[in-house]
Symmetry: C2
Subunit: 308 residues, 2 copies
């Protein structure tokens, strides 16, 4: 294999009750990357289309992740990376995770797959560290493993792939405002009431159970976040009314995707997810706000190879 072209999907982290641990992988939204072997050792970003991002490998999440991998798995040949960016950085649907995971995935393929997808997460973390100032695996895990994932422990990277109910669809509304992950994290309180923590872990336990039993009603009841969302909602104009409109249109639940500003909803069935999208769009109509809307099934595969 001399080169590989891959699809690097977007993802949703901080899924309602699962702050910092629960994420899922999206379907049609994602970047493409092409990585070529090169006789010249080292990593180069030779092309970035779609976004104005640094090509210096030390300043680009893909380059940083690739170099972290090569530190432990040295290669006699080098890598030229092309990034075709479709996920907007700062939109809250795992733009940096797609690039970091894509880079280590592609290198691993070109080196003959010394590592499993799960083992690649730790190297992609280096890219996330650059992007958000804190290395979290809650976007990387779904991008690499697909479906829903739970990061039981971020320190030891104990990651569990959870089942994805087949008829579950996501609606994503991206209000085009700038919102830095580091800022969204800084406004969080460092301590929380025990009573709310109990509610949160009760809901997360129920959410995980609902994924196994495909119990959409339970999933809906469990999609509650009284801990993080109240703090972060104020950073997103009209978050509450957009969320309410999604629920009124029949969404199972709705919340902030990652650290925002994107707002996601989960629905049973594609038709419902589309109706929910229309309702969310309508709720933003009279605001001075540009938005993108996506409808997506839960992507069970994660990163896929398009050509090699």
């Amino acid at each position: 294999m001399e080169s590989v072209r891959i699809f690097c999907p977007a993802s949703v982290a901080n899924v309602s009750c699962g702050f910092d641990v629960l994420g899922f992988c999206l379907g049609p939204i994602g970047d493409e990357m092409v990585v070529h072997k090169s006789a010249k050792p080292g990593v180069r970003i030779t092309k970035i289309e779609g976004q104005n991002l640094p090509t210096d490998p030390n300043e680009n999440v893909a380059g940083v992740a690739a170099n972290a991998l090569l530190k432990d798995y040295p290669s006699s040949f080098g890598f030229d990376i092309e990034i075709y960016k479709k996920i907007k950085p700062g939109s809250g649907i795992g733009s940096s995770a797609a690039s970091a995971a894509g880079a280590v995935f592609a290198l691993n393929e070109l080196m003959g797959k010394p590592l499993t997808r799960k083992e690649l997460v730790q190297y992609a973390m280096a890219g996330e560290q650059l992007a958000s100032g804190a290395a979290h695996a809650d976007n990387l895990a779904p991008v690499l493993l697909g479906g829903f994932t739970l990061v039981r422990c971020n320190d030891t990277l104990d990651i569990i792939k959870l089942p994805s109910p087949k008829n579950l669809y996501a609606t994503l509304l991206h209000p085009k405002i700038e919102l830095k992950t580091a800022h969204a994290r800084a406004i969080l309180k460092k301590t929380i009431p025990l009573s709310k923590a109990i509610q949160q872990w009760g809901n997360l336990g129920a959410f995980v159970s609902a994924l196994y039993t495909e119990d959409y009603e339970l999933l809906s009841r469990a999609m509650v976040d009284k801990v993080i969302e109240p703090s972060r909602a104020m950073l997103i104009p009209e978050f509450e009314s957009i969320r309410e409109s999604a629920l009124k249109a029949g969404a199972l639940g709705s919340g902030i995707s990652g650290s925002g500003p994107s707002i996601y909803a989960l629905s049973e069935g594609k038709a419902r997810a589309e109706k929910v999208g229309e309702a969310m769009l309508k709720a933003t109509q009279n605001l001075d706000l540009k938005v993108d809307l996506h409808i997506s099934p839960i992507n069970p595969k994660g990163i896929t190879i398009l050509d090699s």
Copy 2:
């Protein structure tokens, strides 16, 4: 049906990462209750064997729970309750839950089963309120439903029955010291660090997943409680050394049962659970401490009818 004799099992609540939400039902340990229909309306506690407990229905958890049920479901006949108490009150394995759940279960049977087991939980709560000063369903749910249960929401009593891996056994060590639930609750801090809450809900999500997949190793890794146990451990002499001895003997995990003082361990297989029991006993040998030891499978049924 003129009378019913039932087995009311013991239970473990506050299972490691699932404080206030996760519980499971024990097998051979439990009370018996016999309830007779009576021409005289109302509830009477006609006999209590095994423990010195109040027979005034307003001061006995079984009486209080029975009367809560009768308030919503009036009966033309009355009930004489006999309680054969084998679970020691204050031992931390759901003594009051067994009596409260038993009373409403038996009355429901004698009235022709107007309610489901899940619907009975709300009435048994009145008994728990009397016993512990706070109404929690985390012991009642496993006693009534059997197996592992999750209380997603204690206010709405949204209770989920979880699967129980077949080869999972519990070891229970009861150090005979007095420890009031209300006191064990009072020493808890009202706020907790967000970072620890995240670990806790990551672990609970993983624990629930492990029950579905029968992944004993994951179950073991998820049996961590950095939030509640450190505060409560100091109320139980040598808790840490007893727990350590259980883990060294091969237990999957170990923690405080309910609000203590009983200490439970979970193991894969009965033989392992017995070895764990021996090790826990040995750890208490040089202490001035009387103890009881029980080995039990996870009881999938909850309360059962012995005779009617």
